[in-house]
């Protein structure tokens, strides 16, 4: 742009002072480009550094246990035998439970806010959701432990146990005793935590749907639910999936709140009401007191696994989007 302007300027026979000024603009542009490039490269450098140090730190554990590290669930600091299966399972299952609850609710809130909500109610709900996103995770943890868990233990869990008792597979999934804390409780707390992310992003992308499209569909005699399903959701699917992935990312890595309510047992139980653990909860709990190189290294290896899981989730989301675009004929 500056180049074009300069030739224009020279062509017009401008004096040298103006020319100088123009050169300075060009130099300023180059500096600006350099600075932003530096900022972008810094991210790559940091990411590379983190990956390298994670790999380096986990070499002792991975070379000692090999693939068994991924497939065994014994976690014994006394005999120094470590397997990551229980934390991996806990991480994946709690995140899935969280999404199972938060995605329908979050999208429901977004639809209500953009399509159905009376204007005077829009702001209070919107502000409430943003406040929910701003609460630090430790607060969710304390609230979960002291308020939610006792309520869950005395009211919800006995109900779930008795309801699912006669149903073959579900009675194992919802088997007692009701501790109040466990995988399911962690999933619930995570659902509350990721809900604002999913809601605010889907609401924002729903707002980008051109009103003319919606009005045309209403004009054809469609109901609100048809408009949402046939026009709004297809138009915004990339954004919605992005919001869900952001929520999933937070759920996978959430540490403090989960540590408080999951029960921290390195075990895989058939029941989702039993205590379990997640990768980040294990690291947070045990790192300070991990004596012995193998113990520390195993915890770092857990971190590496979480990194890989997050990467797989992101890659899968990209793949999904590409498929959907192909199907939609773009």
């Amino acid at each position: 742009m500056v180049d074009a302007a300069m030739t224009g300027v020279i062509g017009a026979g401008m004096d040298s002072a103006k020319l100088k000024r123009m050169r300075r603009f060009r130099a300023g542009d180059a500096t600006f480009r350099g600075l932003t490039l530096g900022a972008a490269l810094l991210v790559l450098l940091l990411l590379g550094g983190v990956i390298l140090s994670l790999i380096h730190g986990s070499i002792p554990a991975l070379s000692t246990f090999g693939l068994d590290f991924l497939t065994t669930q014994s976690w014994n600091p006394v005999t120094e035998k470590f397997g990551a299966l229980a934390p991996i399972y806990g991480t994946v299952v709690t995140s899935l439970i969280a999404l199972l609850i938060a995605v329908p609710v979050g999208i429901g809130i977004a639809i209500f806010l953009t399509e159905l909500c009376p204007p005077w109610l829009k702001r209070p709900i919107g502000v409430a959701i943003e406040l929910l996103a701003g609460i630090p995770s430790i607060i969710y943890g304390i609230w979960g432990l002291f308020v939610f868990a006792p309520f869950f233990q005395t009211k919800i869990q006995p109900f779930l146990i008795s309801v699912f008792e006669p149903i073959p597979v579900l009675n194992n999934l919802f088997a007692g005793p009701p501790y109040g804390i466990g995988i399911l409780t962690a999933g619930f707390i995570l659902a509350i935590m990721v809900l604002p992310f999913i809601t605010s992003i889907t609401r924002d992308v729903f707002d980008t749907v051109p009103p003319v499209l919606k009005e045309a569909t209403y004009g054809l005699g469609c109901t609100t639910s048809e408009v949402v399903r046939k026009v709004v959701l297809p138009y915004t699917r990339v954004g919605v999936i992005g919001g869900v992935m952001l929520g999933l990312g937070r759920a996978l890595g959430e540490t403090m709140a989960v540590t408080f309510v999951i029960g921290n047992a390195h075990k895989i139980s058939a029941s989702i009401m039993a205590p379990g653990t997640t990768i980040s909860a294990s690291i947070a709990n045990e790192f300070t007191e991990a004596v012995g190189d193998l113990y520390t290294s195993s915890l770092i290896a857990l971190g590496l696994i979480l990194f890989v899981i997050t990467f797989i989730v992101l890659a899968a989301a990209r793949l999904l989007l590409m498929r959907m675009n192909v199907k939609a004929g773009n």
């Binding site: 600091p77 804390i181 205590p275 045990e286 004596v291």
Partner: protein, 349 residues
């Protein structure tokens, strides 16, 4: 005018900070969380008396050992003592500061604090999931007069590595062969059953909320929060309650003088009134420190704490060391902690 006001205020503020910085550098230490309340109390009082502050990071015993080995702090603190050969290898000197007890806490409706008595084997069986109901024969036999409910037992243990867990599992390993063979003793173990909760407060909250639960916490914590505890049967077959006198009794029967590196674990000690899950907490410093002046300051602090800190420790439900042990420790300082010229870094009065 306003600007000058701000400048004056800033100057005063800087002077205040500068004054602090100008005083002797703070003693730096890191480690065990269990003695943190008493160290903090001592440090506060010591600062008022001498102007020398202490910066103690309660990051856990494992962290304390790592930091002293990395020489980032002047002293490390650990609940689990290092073995004499480890001390030798690392060139460290170890000495105890205070004693505390670990107490089983329970939440069983209808049972008052101290109403239930357990023995070591029963406790180990509960924490192994072999005893699952409160009215189990083994518990009923120990408590013939008590009407026990048929509630399921929920075990609550520490999820973070902890000196408290070390002391507790060390005791269970001594009284139960099963426990020693299958689980062992460490600051973190593979718990056969139960819920993990973070910190003493996490365990207390878990037990407080779960009917039929049992857990273990530092005595100071149980006392301050009014938790319902159990009595235990000690090595001599006597039923004892967790209180200061009984912790002191456990410590009194130990031959500290002949234990190299003060490597003494006070669990399951003999004596009619000894509480069986008692433990000392330890300080680690280098025998030949790179900065003798810093270590001298630290020893001066602990010397002061031994002389004047007993009442403060008792207030916080810790047990001060017996005087004979303190004299011994001071002799160790003079003998083992030396500067480059081979002179003692600090000589106690």
């Amino acid at each position: 005018m306003k600007l000058t006001n701000i400048a004056v205020a800033a100057g005063l503020f800087a002077a205040a900070i500068g004054l602090n910085a100008a005083q002797a550098a703070d003693i730096s230490g890191a480690g065990a969380t269990f003695p943190y309340p008493v160290y903090a109390k001592w440090a506060d009082t010591y600062k008022k008396e001498t102007g020398v502050g202490m910066n103690y990071q309660s990051i856990g015993s494992g962290g304390g050992i790592k930091q002293i080995k990395a020489k980032t702090v002047t002293f490390g603190a650990s609940d689990a003592p290092l073995k004499p050969e480890e001390l030798e290898k690392a060139g460290l000197v170890q000495f105890p500061t205070v004693i505390g007890g670990v107490v089983p806490i329970i939440n069983v409706p209808g049972l008052k604090p101290g109403e239930v008595t357990l023995d070591g084997q029963t406790l180990a069986d509960i924490f192994q999931g072999k005893i699952t109901k409160w009215d189990d024969e083994a518990i009923q036999k120990l408590n013939p007069q008590v009407k026990l409910p048929s509630t399921a037992i929920a075990v609550v243990h520490r999820s973070d590595g902890s000196g408290t867990s070390f002391v507790f599992t060390n005791y269970l390993s001594q009284v139960s062969k099963d426990w020693a063979d299958n689980v062992g003793a460490a600051s973190a173990v593979e718990w056969p059953v139960g819920l993990g909760a973070k910190g003493n407060e996490g365990v207390a909250a878990g037990v407080g909320q779960t009917q039929g639960s049992i857990g273990y916490v530092e005595y100071a914590f149980a006392a301050q929060n009014g938790m319902s505890y159990t009595k235990l049967i000690n090595k001599d077959g006597q039923t004892v309650a967790p209180d200061a006198a009984n912790f002191a009794a456990a410590a009194a029967n130990v031959d500290w003088a002949n234990a190299p590196g003060y490597y003494v674990i006070l669990t399951n000690e003999p004596g009619a009134t000894s509480w069986p899950i008692t433990a000392a907490t330890f300080i680690l410093v280098y025998a030949k420190p790179d900065k003798p002046a810093d270590v001298a300051e630290a020893l001066k602090f602990f010397n002061w704490a031994y002389d004047k800190g007993d009442a403060m420790a008792e207030e916080l439900h810790y047990i001060p060391l017996p005087d004979s042990v303190v004299a011994n420790i001071k002799a160790t300082w003079a003998k083992d902690i030396l500067d480059a010229d081979g002179k003692p870094v600090f000589t106690a009065n």
